[in-house]
């Protein structure tokens, strides 16, 4: 007979586990009851609104990121425009002064079409970005 308490307990634990899995009764009922105890021991419950709060928080973060993007992108373009104007403006004006423009020969129709297409695309993009909601909400 094995008298080592470590081996004995280990054996009982394994037998009880096997018996619990097989649904058979066993002399190792002590550990079977402990397993049941672990399973049914009272545990603080998850708040019923946990999922909705978590999803809302993830949604808020997405909106925050969107808001940051909306603020940063125009600022970035403005900075680039002003910086570019200050740096290259004088040289550009000087160069343009030496060029003789022939406005009559410009493709006005194509230019108007391109501007209209850009405006329509921008409007559609703004409409969809306003309606966009996080997929999981």
């Amino acid at each position: 007979m094995n008298t080592d308490p470590h081996d004995r307990e280990s054996q009982w634990q394994q037998q009880a586990l096997g018996a619990a899995m097989d649904g058979e009764s066993s002399a190792t009922a002590v550990y079977r009851r402990i397993y049941a105890g672990v399973r049914w021991a009272p545990l603080p419950a998850l708040a019923p609104d946990f999922a909705s709060r978590t999803l809302a928080r993830i949604g808020v973060i997405e909106e925050d990121v969107g808001a940051v993007e909306r603020r940063i992108v125009p600022m970035l373009f403005a900075t680039l425009g002003v910086g570019g104007g200050i740096t290259a403006g004088p040289q550009l004006l000087g160069a343009l002064g030496q060029v003789a423009f022939d406005f009559a020969g410009l493709p006005w129709l194509q230019a108007a079409a391109a501007v209209t297409a850009i405006a329509v695309a921008a409007t559609i993009d703004r409409m969809f970005s306003r309606r966009r909601v996080p997929a999981h909400r």
């Binding site: 603080p44 928080r57 997929a135």
Partner: protein, 186 residues
């Protein structure tokens, strides 16, 4: 694993309700891991939310090298472990209390019929509270969440042998604690 792939692709493809379903499927396990580790329900709630925020943020990096539940469990466990470390609460005993527990177990006591179910569950709950965080979490993963030893090892980042050893000690300590209770009641 296929259903994991479908779920992840649904979330990444921004299919309506996909992340809500993923959350519903895993919130119980995340909650059990965290509440067993940190105990305080308010802290556990905050950490469980943080877990899903991280899952949402890191999901594009998930490589299907483990089950999705294991990966989510790893995030939950690591957040809870860091929380305890910040509070300087040890995850595991420095001494061998599990071995000591064996000495306290009597051969004769009939624990199987010594307690009514409700009473036993209360005693088990109280005894689990006294276990080190890692042991009570492993017991919960194995017996309540029915994770395999291998999955529990992946979640906790421990070797399989260590997980088995911790489970053994934890059960022995529960038995010793219940034995003491039964001795007092007798």
């Amino acid at each position: 694993m296929n259903s994991d792939r479908e779920r992840v692709e649904a979330v990444l493809g921004q299919r309506p309700g996909a992340f809500a379903r993923l959350l519903q499927d895993h919130q119980r396990m995340v909650w059990h891991i965290i509440v067993r580790m940190v105990r305080n329900p308010a802290d556990a709630d905050e950490l469980a939310q943080e877990t899903f925020l991280q899952v949402h943020r890191k999901l594009p990096q998930f490589r299907f090298e483990s089950a999705l539940s294991t990966w989510i469990g790893q995030i939950a466990f690591s957040l809870a472990a860091r929380f305890l470390q910040r509070k300087r609460i040890p995850l595991q005993d420095s001494n061998e209390e599990g071995e000591d527990a064996l000495a306290q177990i009597g051969d004769e006591r009939d624990l199987a019929s010594g307690f009514a179910d409700a009473e036993l569950f209360q005693h088990v709950a109280a005894a689990m509270e006294k276990l080190p965080p890692i042991q009570r979490t492993l017991l919960t993963l194995f017996h309540l969440e029915e994770q395999t030893v291998e999955a529990a090892a992946e979640i906790t980042g421990l070797p399989v042998g260590t997980v088995k050893s911790y489970l053994f000690r934890a059960r022995a300590r529960l038995r010793a604690a219940l034995d003491v209770k039964l001795g007092v009641a007798a």
